[in-house]
């Protein structure tokens, strides 16, 4: 009995010491995961994911409290980047391919109140007080904040127009509906 207790204890202690030594020798610095994730996210702080800005979303992703499909403006690109970073598998075919959208001003409804201009996180809306506003498409992330802010419903999200430069072949149809 005593031999058993003694030998097990000794064994445990020896192994514990060895492991303790090893863990010191092989210590790893805390990882900069949150920052890396934040670099992947769009950074427009639109809040559509439900977290306070992209930093909050990155923290939640790093803690595993949020799905990697949380970012609507990011689309598939962000999902696949997050999937690679976090080692979470996701079927990209299931991620709805969002049409690229931009906000458009309906000029006959715009009253030039500048509310949209003030909320736009990327300064994509041009105009001054009492003047009709316009959206600078290249800077618009389709976050929708201006749509909410507009008092006259002059702003709405529309699919971005397809040009010769942005057109490409559609995906061939699946041959069977499984």
């Amino acid at each position: 009995m005593l031999i058993a207790v003694f030998s097990l204890t000794t064994l445990g202690l020896v192994l514990g010491l060895l492991l303790g030594y090893a863990s010191r020798r092989l210590a790893v610095e805390g990882n900069a995961l949150v920052e890396e994730i934040q670099a992947i996210l769009p950074g427009s702080q639109c809040g559509q994911c439900g977290f306070p800005g992209c930093a909050g979303a990155a923290q939640a992703l790093a803690d595993g409290n949020a799905p990697i499909t949380l970012c609507p403006p990011g689309g598939r690109e962000v999902v696949s980047a997050l999937s690679a970073k976090l080692g979470i598998e996701v079927n990209l075919a299931d991620v709805a391919e969002t049409m690229p959208m931009t906000a458009e001003v309906r000029e006959e409804l715009c009253i030039g109140c500048t509310r949209c201009y003030k909320v736009c996180p990327t300064d994509a809306i041009m105009g001054a007080a009492k003047h009709i506003h316009a959206v600078f498409r290249e800077a618009c992330t389709a976050c929708g904040k201006c749509v909410e802010a507009c008092p006259t419903e002059a702003l709405a999200l529309h699919p971005a127009p397809i040009t010769l430069q942005s057109w490409y072949w559609h995906k061939p149809e699946e041959r069977m509906a499984a």
């Binding site: 950074g43 598939r76 990209l92 990327t122 300064d123 290249e138 800077a139 010769l164 490409y168 041959r175």
Partner: protein, 492 residues
């Protein structure tokens, strides 16, 4: 073993040539159409900017749109007449989306503008030849439509020593280069010598597929007494792919992602060489090209010299119309050309043919499951695994497809052509390439908007801070004033 192997073309297919339809038809000039629709972008690079206004009278060969930027090409009036419109018109592009196009109404006179013709074009400085080629709006006429002057300049600067002239014309049906070589061999040889002179190459090779013996004979006769070598290469598709031809002729491969100039080679098409001769020796800019009109549904297939901007309908009309309603209209060859959404779409500099094909010729039944027979692997001239790439693209795993070499794919269509399961392999690859460049654009945009967002939040912070400071100052001032007031009251 390697040396022997290198000269052997890799992969490739042998589609039914169907060149007999039009190979024996001499080139004829298409009667002048009433209206010409000249797109401002017919080349790789930046679109040209118009230099004429609606209502202007122009002469044939007059500059109507100037190239802008380093990679671009100017556009010239294909005939004399009046500019009647400048606006969007359907483009010769699979999307059928409109592009800025100049519409020209012919005055029927077809009067050339005056041009300075050098007494001896070979006395011109190499720089000057390249400049004239650029000013004539010449682009690669094999279909790539890359501005030729840019290629000349790059090649001269990087010390290219071998000039290869591509007379492959491996696409079925097309006979425009074949006819041009048979009828204008002198002009082509003169053009080759000009390029030779402009770049300072040490040797010039003309590669012609061995299924065009007449063209080979004509070119050999014309090249007699020059240092131009005319070489017969085995007929196979895609022998006209410049890199395949390079390997077949000199046994070297262009590095992936690199240019022909990297291995000291410059490749031009025979029609481009001819256009160079026309431009430099005769002062005629590129305003027309040879187009093959063919296909089972065309009454009399033929080879036509067509002014740039002529609607495809005029070509079919001249060839006697259709014998049967065509199942598909194609611009270019059947392997790499694209479907014409409508017949009012114009011929451009890169158009080598317009085809009206019957159902029997298209022959594409419903796709079946892939049986991994790897016929496509054997057919691929690049050495890719089309079946593996397509399954990954179908599963939306584009990164895996890139890993398998998607970016090396030249979309030649060999794999789709031979696939017994009729899987649209090239369609998958072109979709994936488009999707990738869309992602690339989205990424660039995301970076730009992120910076905007950061700038804005920094600005907002600054404004808030300034406002706070201002408020603090106001408060301090107010307190000071009140204190002073109190002090005054006390003293009073």
């Amino acid at each position: 073993m390697n040396l022997l192997n290198r000269f052997q073309p890799r992969g490739g297919v042998h589609p039914a040539g169907r060149k007999d339809l039009s190979a024996d038809r001499p080139i004829r000039a298409l009667p002048l159409p009433e209206r010409l629709f000249v797109p401002l972008q017919q080349h790789v690079g930046a679109a040209a900017t118009p230099v004429v206004a609606v209502g202007d009278q122009v002469l044939k060969g007059q500059l109507i749109a100037a190239g802008q930027g380093t990679i671009s090409a100017p556009v010239h009036a294909p005939t004399s007449g009046r500019v009647v419109a400048l606006g969007d018109y359907a483009a010769p592009h699979p999307s059928g989306l409109p592009v800025p196009t100049l519409t020209l109404e012919s005055d029927g006179e077809d009067r050339w503008s005056d041009a300075a013709i050098p007494a001896d074009p070979f006395a011109l400085a190499p720089d000057e030849i390249a400049r004239r080629v650029g000013a004539a709006g010449i682009v690669g006429l094999g279909g790539a439509a890359f501005p030729s002057a840019v290629k000349l300049n790059i090649s001269r600067k990087s010390g290219v020593d071998t000039l290869i002239i591509n007379g492959g014309e491996c696409e079925p049906y097309l006979t425009c280069d074949d006819r041009l070589m048979r009828e204008q061999a002198e002009g082509i040889v003169a053009g080759i010598r000009l390029i030779h002179h402009a770049v300072g190459t040490q040797r010039a090779l003309v590669g012609i597929e061995d299924n065009k013996p007449e063209a080979i004979a004509a070119m050999r006769a014309a090249a007699l007494g020059t240092d131009i070598q005319v070489v017969a290469v085995p007929a196979m598709y895609p022998m006209g792919w410049d890199k395949q031809l390079t390997r077949a002729l000199i046994g070297k491969e262009v590095p992936a992602g690199g240019r022909s100039a990297d291995i000291g080679v410059l490749v031009h098409n025979v029609a481009t060489a001819y256009a160079v001769h026309q431009a430099v020796a005769l002062g005629r800019p590129l305003v027309s090209r040879i187009v093959t009109v063919s296909g089972g549904a065309v009454k009399t297939p033929c080879n036509l010299e067509v002014p740039i901007g002529t609607p495809a309908q005029d070509l079919f009309d001249y060839c006697g119309g259709f014998t049967a309603p065509p199942a598909r209209l194609v611009m270019g060859g059947p392997m790499m050309g694209h479907e014409l959404p409508a017949t009012h779409i114009p011929v451009v500099k890169g158009t080598s043919g317009v085809l009206a094909l019957t159902h029997a010729e298209i022959g594409r039944p419903e796709p079946a499951p892939c049986i991994r027979c790897s016929t496509c692997v054997r057919a691929c001239p690049v050495g890719l695994l089309p079946l593996e790439m397509a399954t990954r693209i179908r599963a939306a795993d584009l990164d895996a497809a890139i890993g398998l070499g998607l970016k090396d794919c030249i979309a030649c269509g060999s794999c789709s052509y031979v696939c017994p399961a009729h899987i649209p392999l090239v369609h998958y690859f072109n979709y994936a390439k488009g999707e990738l460049s869309a992602r690339e654009r989205a990424k660039l945009k995301q970076e730009a908007t992120k910076k905007l967002a950061d700038d804005r939040s920094a600005r907002m912070e600054r404004i808030a801070r300034e406002r706070e400071e201002a408020a603090a100052r106001r408060r301090a001032a107010k307190e000071a004033a009140e204190a002073a007031k109190k002090a005054a009251e006390v003293t009073a």
